[in-house]
Subunit: 329 residues, 2 copies
Amino acid sequence: MILALDAMGGDHGPSEVCRGAISACEEHPDLELVLVGQSSDIEPLLAGVSRDVSGRISIVHAEERIGMDEHPTVAIRKKRRSSLRVAMEMVRSGEASGCVSAGNTGAIVAGGVLVVGRIAGIDRPALGVALPTLNKYTFLLDVGATVRSKPENLFQFAHMGNVYSKKILGVSEPQVALLANGSEEIKGDEVIAGAKTLIKASGLNFSGYVEGDDIPYSRADVVVCDGFSGNVVLKFAEGLMSAVYSILKEEMGHRIMPKFGMVFMIPMMKDLWARFNYEKHGGTPLLGVNGIVVKAHGRSKAPAITNALRVARNFVLQNGVELIREELG
Amino acid sequence: MILALDAMGGDHGPSEVCRGAISACEEHPDLELVLVGQSSDIEPLLAGVSRDVSGRISIVHAEERIGMDEHPTVAIRKKRRSSLRVAMEMVRSGEASGCVSAGNTGAIVAGGVLVVGRIAGIDRPALGVALPTLNKYTFLLDVGATVRSKPENLFQFAHMGNVYSKKILGVSEPQVALLANGSEEIKGDEVIAGAKTLIKASGLNFSGYVEGDDIPYSRADVVVCDGFSGNVVLKFAEGLMSAVYSILKEEMGHRIMPKFGMVFMIPMMKDLWARFNYEKHGGTPLLGVNGIVVKAHGRSKAPAITNALRVARNFVLQNGVELIREELG
């Protein structure tokens, strides 16, 4: 399987991106990667890689780069030789089965729509993320592709989330819910109420409205919201866990007594942090476009890139785009 | 100072509400409380209270009660003898300097507007909460009074938050920000962009857009958003911290080695939990109404009620409503 990787994307590209690419190839012997970007920057980063892996990594030169602060649509339209656009064109042409980028989120979404194209029946794409929760994962979408939604958009997100949860996350009968400011019938606004009516009438296993605290308690397998709310929740989660972790580390340093206990506690804290470090759970699929596009966090280091490639590979193996097409058909 | 307390509100009223009331009177010798509700339920709960405190607690009988699931506006209009409405009428008439309820949020907001009345110049009220963050507190508003807002509403929230942060939380020059899905200029939607223009042109110390992860890192003193987003964030925070705490407790039980360290770690965990247990930080002022109305969490136990009374007392002492009136004047 060939995946295209935007080598220039993200805060730590291309060095971390290339390291992540090498790990992914080591992990998956069926994986071939095309690193797209400034070849003179990429080549030295591949020096010393084992023959087995280097044989499966190639470079496609792209001299332009879309910055994290550029206007998404303008950048994707004008920078035709940008690493992101070239990677996406490889998906459209079929040269690659999917692509991964840690670049400008808006540009990834714009490229998904303008270069890769939408699936028939999907008006707007959604970014979905499998959030670690109390017992399992909750698939939250949209986390930032479509800022404000119409009822039809949320309805389509619900169906895409349902497919993803079932086929990729392996939940047998996913419970689908709408995020609202209360679980009572009268909560939400017209858009959410409209989406509720549409989803209720469909064949989904719909459990109505859930509130913010239902997400960490995994009270639904798929939680649907507009890109604004989802983005705020996801980033807040990242920030809160990281702030709490900082406080704990600092406290450990300050207290005399606990230093003794610390030796025993550190592995536990590390496990928890590995589980709830939302930032490291790289790999947010852009659902609703005619090809596999996976966004990694802008702050991705190598392990997050490897994870995003794992998500993309899995999505290709499950034939995810076809599944969404069927669900909406 | 006389405060009216809706004795029947919340999941644990009147027993926990009365316990919280007694503690608050013990804590503040200047405090007199009127417990509003079913007197036959309340009286036995005050038995055995010290004379000093019992002399400062009176009961006003109200035979009706607004349930947590009732339609807010309908309930507040029709149940004229409900504990919540009677408590609010005491604020309007000046018999009480403020009121506290752990009841139906929507009914508290509806009662604030319909019974207590709005401050001139305020179109919609906002519920604000001082969220504990990395170093201090971030005042987040609205967390659920006004589901969707217009730019003018957000602009008014910004001013009310500014006053609250300055005068009640003691921040000298509060940094005010708008919550958005990205910090770049092009983020947000028309409503948020409109609010930005309005706030920029005012004299506030405005720092533009902040993202979800900026909240726990206290990158602004006042974060303004619509009631939908704020509610989702607040409830998500409650749920996430409570889920993480459950996991830690369970892990501590499971691991043999850490049990030894546990003895030392428990106080640290408890401190952190006390700080980040958002649910216990009772006391969300309803800003923009012509009197002091403080909402306590529906799940409030006695300490949260005491805390909400502390918030209300402080707001009265600072002459909070007058301050908002001046700011908007």
